[in-house]
Amino acid sequence: MNERATADSLGGRGALTAILLIAFAISLTGVGWGDGLINAGGVRAVGQILAAAIQPQLDLDVLSIGARSTWTTLAYAWAGMTVALAIGLPLGIIGSGTVVRSPWTRRWNISSARFALAVFRSIHELVWAWLFVAALGLSPMAGVLALGLPYGGILGRIYAELLQDVPEAPLRALRSTGASEWRVFWFGRLPMALPDMLSYTFYRLECGIRSAAILSFVGLGGLGHNIQISLQDIDYSRMWTFIYFLIALVLVVDLWSSLVRRRVAIEQG
């Protein structure tokens, strides 16, 4: 039986490999290759861009713009994450269907919350941003909401799954003491799922920084905005300065988040 399973999985893998290669080959024919790949000034542009990478503009005013827009990007990401938490936490808890006992209510809770979360996260944050800017005007609030909605959708889904995956035995013990479903959730389920939830939230924060940087594309400030302006001026050295700011910001948040996650993981044992 074991051999059979192995053979099946090998067959599955072979089929999968074939499907992947064929799909990739077809997709390449779908890409408009045009007349030549590189445009007339392309090779020169690559040279200029690479040359500029090792000599970013380090004037004081450029650096101060960089520092300020780094904070703007960070602020968008952080405020967006608070909105995401405000959306993801309640919907995730409802979507896990763990706080109600009646099967019908539970099913209804799970499917409606999960559907809302799926819609939020299906649409990319930049598309949300554009829609919000069109609807609300060019306000920072549009950017914060645009980040918060899809991130809330992702957080909610993960929270729901983590809350469902908690081992049942300790919960049964709690229930046997006569605890209500809400108490079981509050004193059993949530504390057990919390470390993983925290880990994931921090991980998402890293992604939020990158997303916040490109929100500027719809006209909001931040690092992306300055990168865009530098490109419009064809000033590659200035562009690299801002890109280095972005990389540094991502790295710092990355490092912090991985330190936190490692400690949370130990906490959990």
Binding site: I19, I38, A135, Y203, Q228, R261, I266
Partner: protein, 299 residues
Amino acid sequence: MAAQYGRGEPVARGGATAPIAPARRIGFLAASAVIAFVMALAAWATIIGDDNFPSRNVFSLDSVARAADFAGGMVGAESSASPAFYNPDEWAEKARLAGETLAMSVAAAGLAALGALALFMFGARNVMMGSLAPYRSPFWTAPFFLVRGLFTVSRAVPELVWAMILVFVFTQGTLPGVIALAIHNGGILGKLGSEIVEGLDTRPMRALRSTGAGRMQVLLYGVLPEALPKFITYLFYRWEVIIRTTIVVGFVAAGGLGTEFRLAMSHFKFTEVTLILFWYLVLVLFVDIVSGQLRRLGN
């Protein structure tokens, strides 16, 4: 446990970590919580205090009316022209663009996978300078830092920014967008691949070694087959992200639904926006389902 939660972004857990004293650990976590809270307050202060923040507008009847106008525009209530979604030609045209978007996402995922596959072994610490290293020399360890640096830069820069840069290089068409997606996701996949290798159980490799296999053979027949299935799983998760992002790359580079979305928005053809969003959601759903099925086929 949480290794595969989320769309292709596994939560990287500590892996092999040195023990940390409990008190210091809790101290660090508490300090982090305080920092996170203070940052949240400061962030909101910045957002609200922003000069052009029309706080009177966003939470006012005026902005409600504006949002209602926009929503009305999307369902075709605002304009005298016939809404795009009553026009079969528009449906067909957007479907074609959806197909193009799908092709772009597959090409980007494929290129990203090729790049990551070529490099991820060199980004694994244990292969380059740890227990699995076939050679011990600075010439073998140097690529580790090079490759990891490459992964870091390529994934720290968002796809959209790569696309903005690459339109200066490639000919007008879908290619800059595809390459931009491939660079960013190649960095992510490469890092994930390296971490897979770093997290592998080395006992089978040691067993292989004890049968007389050379160090290179261990890499080829021990490490690679163990790492590939997980890598493919990550690739599928990543594809689910890529399809959502392909439309965004289309904002700056040509091709697919993204470019059409930009045009429709700038020309205030909001009923077309509705149609594009519809196809976008269909694509996302389609890719989620196909990716789930293929992942199951692989396992």
